[in-house]
Amino acid sequence: MLELSWLLIAIPLAGAALLLVWGKGADRFGHLIATAASAAAFVLGLIMFVELIGRGADDRSVTTSLGTWFEAGRFHVEFAFTFDQLSSLFVLLITGVGTLIHVYSIGYMAHDARRRRFFAYLNLFVAAMLTLVLAADYLVLFLGWEGVGLASFLLIGFWQHKETAAAAANKAFIMNRVGDLGMVIALMTMFATFGTTSIAAVNGAIDSASGSTATALGLLLLVGACGKSAQVPLQAWLLDAMEGPTPVSALIHAATMVTAGVYLVVRSAGIYDASEIARTVVVIVGLVTLLVGAWIGCAKDDIKKVLAGSTMSQIGYMMLAAGLGPAGYAFAIFHLLTHGFFKANMFLGAGSVMHAMDDDVDMRHYGALRRAMPITFVTFGLGYLAIIGFPGMSGFFSKDKIIEAALGYNTWIGLAAMIGAGVTAFYMTRLMMMTFFGEKRWRDEVHPHESPSVMTIPLIVLAAASVLGGALYLGGWITDWLEPIAGHAEHPHLPVPVIVVQLGVMAVVALGVAAGVWLYRRDVPDRAAADADVSIVTRAGRHEIYTNEVNGALVVLPVRYLTRLLVWLDARGIDGTVTGTADRIGEASQQLRRTQTGYVRSYALGIFGGALLVVLGLLAVTLA
C-alpha cells in the first residue's frame, strides 16, 4: 500500500480536473465529488499510516518513483514521493482537516453560484499540498509549493468581483514569489554543489560541503519559508488574504499551507543541523513573527484578521522551535498539528459567526452570541482554551514544550516566547469577550442563528481534536515517531525545574486572560476609536506595524518609478536612437535632393566634370 502515495495526490487532482472540465453540468453535484475525493484520500492515507505504524522503526520511509521528470547533462530529477513518518502526519492533517472543511464548505458556499469551481480549487489545493509534503525531491516539492500558491491565489481572489479580493490574491502571489526566488536560488545551489536536488541526497551529503554552503542553503530556504509561512519580513500578505472565503482561510491560511515553511525547515533538518547561523536566523525570524503577530492580533477588530495575526504568531512559535534544531523539530511539528486542529476550528467557527451576521466581520458588531449560536460558541470556546494553553488541552502540551525548549536554548528567547503566550491569551480572550459575551451590538436586520449541521459537525469534530490533540504526546510518542527524521532530542537543560516553567507559563496566560476579561468586561463601543485617539502601540498594530507602508516605499514605489523611467527611456533613448538615425538619413537625403535642379545643362556640367575627373584620375595613375 505504501507505494501508493502518488494515488493520494492523484485522487484530489482528478477531482479538480473533473470539476473544471465537466463544466456547468456538474454544478449540482460537484461539491459531493470533491468532498468524496478528499475523503477517499484521507481513508487511503489512514490505511497507509496504519501500515506504516506496523512496520519496524527503521523501515518507515518508502520512496516510490513515477519515473524521470526531466534530465539534461548532469541534471536528473525523479518524480518521486516519500511516505515516511513526517509526511504521513501531514497527509493525515491535510486530508483530514481538508475533508472536514470540504464538508463545511458545502453549507458555507451553498448559495454561491460558482460553488463547483470553489470545490475544484479546494481539491487542487489538497493535491498540491500533498505533492509538497510527499515530494522526495526539492524540485517536486517546489512543484507542490507553487501549486498551493496557485490554489491560494485562486481562492483568495475567489470573489473576483471585489477589487480588494483580487488585489489581495495578487499580493499573496507576488510576495510568495519573493520567497520563491530564495527557493529557486537554493535549488540551483544544490544542483551546482551536489549535482542533485533530491531531499535525501542533499541532506545526507551536506556535511561534505563547506559550512558556508549549508548556511547559504539554510538562509535561502528560509526566505522561501518566510514567504509561504507569512514570517517577517514577508508576512504582509496573510492579513489581506482574509479576503478569501472563510473555509479557505481555515484550510490554507491557518491549518496547512502557511505551515509549509515549517515543514520545509524540518524536512531540511540536515541542512539546518549543519549551520548554526541559519538556525539562529530561523529562531530570530520565528521570535519576531511570534511577537508581531500577537501584537497585530491585539489591535484588530476584524475577527478574521485577529485570527490571521494569531496564525502568524503561532507559526512563529513553530519556526522558533524548528530553529532550535533536534531539540525543537518534533515540537514544531507537534504544535503545527495541534494548531491545525484548533485554528481550523476557530476559523470555521468565525465563518459560522459571519454566516449568522450577514458576512459582517467587525467584532464590534457582535456581542452576546453565545446564546444565539450555542454549538459554535462551545466549539469555538474549546479551540480558545486550546490555543491559550489551558491545562489538558492540546495547545497546552505543544506550546509548553516549545517554550521549554526555547528556555533551554536561551533564557531571553524563552522569556519572550512566554510573554507571547500571555499576549495570545489576551487577544484571544478579547475576541471571545467581544464576540460571544457582553451586550448585543448587532446591526439592524441581523438575526443570528445557529448554522446548519453540515457546518456544525466539522466544528464538533475539530473541537474534539483540539481538545484531544495533546494525546500525540502521550508517552512522548511524537518525538519518538519523528526521531529518524528530526534526530534525537535531548531534554533541555533548564535553569529551573520544568514544573516551575509550566507554572510560570500558566501564570502569564492567566494574567493575559484576566487582562482581557477585565478590559472588555463592560460594553464595547460599536465603533472603533479613531486612530488619533488610540495609543501609538494600538495604532501601529492596526496598521500591521506599517509593513505595507514600508514595502510600498522601499519596493513598490521604486519599481513603479523605475518602470516609468524605463518606458520613457525606451521610447526616447533606444527607440529614439533608432528612429533618430532614420530621421537623420531622411534629412540628409533632403539636402542631397537639392542637387537635382531639373536643369539639363547643370546635369551636363556634372557629366563633363565627372568625365574629366575620371580622365585626370586615370592619367595620374598611369603617370605616377
Partner: protein
C-alpha cells in the same frame, strides 16, 4: 595623325561648350551631334593608325545610335515646343526634385 586627333579634340570641346552654354534645345542637340562626330573622327583615325577595323566598326555603331537618337530627340523637342511654345532647355525643368 596628330592633326586628326587635334581636330577631333577641338570639335569635341566646341560641342561640349555648346551643350553647356546654349539654351536653345536645337542648338544643344546639334552640339551633341558635333561631339558624337568628334568621337567618330577619333575612332576612325585611331583605327587607321593601328591598322585595326575595330574603330571603324565602333564609328558605324555610333552613327546608327546617333541617327536613332536624332529621331527621338527631335520628336521630343517638337512636342515640347508644341506644348510650351519654347525650345529653351532651362524652361523644361519639371524634373526638379
Amino acid at each position: 595623325m596628330t592633326e586628326y586627333i587635334t581636330l577631333s579634340f577641338l570639335l569635341f570641346t566646341i560641342g561640349a561648350v555648346g551643350v553647356l552654354v546654349r539654351r536653345n534645345a536645337i542648338v544643344v542637340f546639334m552640339c551633341v551631334e558635333l561631339m558624337l562626330n568628334a568621337t567618330n573622327l577619333a575612332f576612325v583615325s585611331f583605327a587607321r593608325q593601328h591598322g585595326n577595323l575595330d574603330g571603324q566598326t565602333a564609328a558605324f555603331f555610333v552613327m546608327v545610335v546617333a541617327a536613332a537618337e536624332v529621331v527621338i530627340g527631335l520628336a521630343i523637342i517638337v512636342s515640347i515646343y508644341r506644348t510650351r511654345r519654347s525650345t529653351s532647355v532651362d524652361e523644361a525643368n519639371l524634373l526638379k526634385a
